[in-house]
Amino acid sequence: MILGRVCGTVVATVQHPFYEGRKQLVVRAIKPDGSWDGDNYRVCVDIVDSGMGDIVLVEDEGNTARQLLSAPNGPVRSVIVGVVDMITMGDPMPDLPVGEATGYLGEGDSPGDA
């Protein structure tokens, strides 16, 4: 699943019959701190009534999308499955005990050796 922000809408009159009547939104991927995650984006089908500027949760996997839309052969991969209200995040990179590893496994050296 990816976190993204709704950046746009797509309207198409001529399209695959599967997409007729389905709302399609442009979602750009973001990092948890809210910054863009490069140029990564998807045009997604919206089933949770999200809108422009919302931070959303996107399921980007074909089988999941087809199950969600009850379409066993639907040509769909990306679906917006949630509108995010809040993100809390601890220290993204807690201090690891660098240099206090348990030693390396060499000849005659096992982790159990005193």
Partner: protein, 95 residues
Amino acid sequence: MKVGRVIGTMVCNQKVDGIKGLKFLIVRPLNADLSVAGDPFVATDSSDQAGEDDLVTYEESREAALCHDPWFVPVDHAVVGIISQYVYQDTWENP
């Protein structure tokens, strides 16, 4: 789905049975802000009506094959729809 621009068409006479009767387009992939995102590729046209200069949405990999009937055709990019209106905004006053 992603967004692309049709920059040409392709015709080939000899092809495997699975893709007989399908129309081929040369599509340039675009970013969300419609800037160029890479090198063009060949896609089939499941909308049946796309042509040069059209802004289109396309599906990749297995989902591209599912655009067609029968769905197991050997296709890895397929145009899904012709975009008639595209709105994009990436800055907000209160982010």
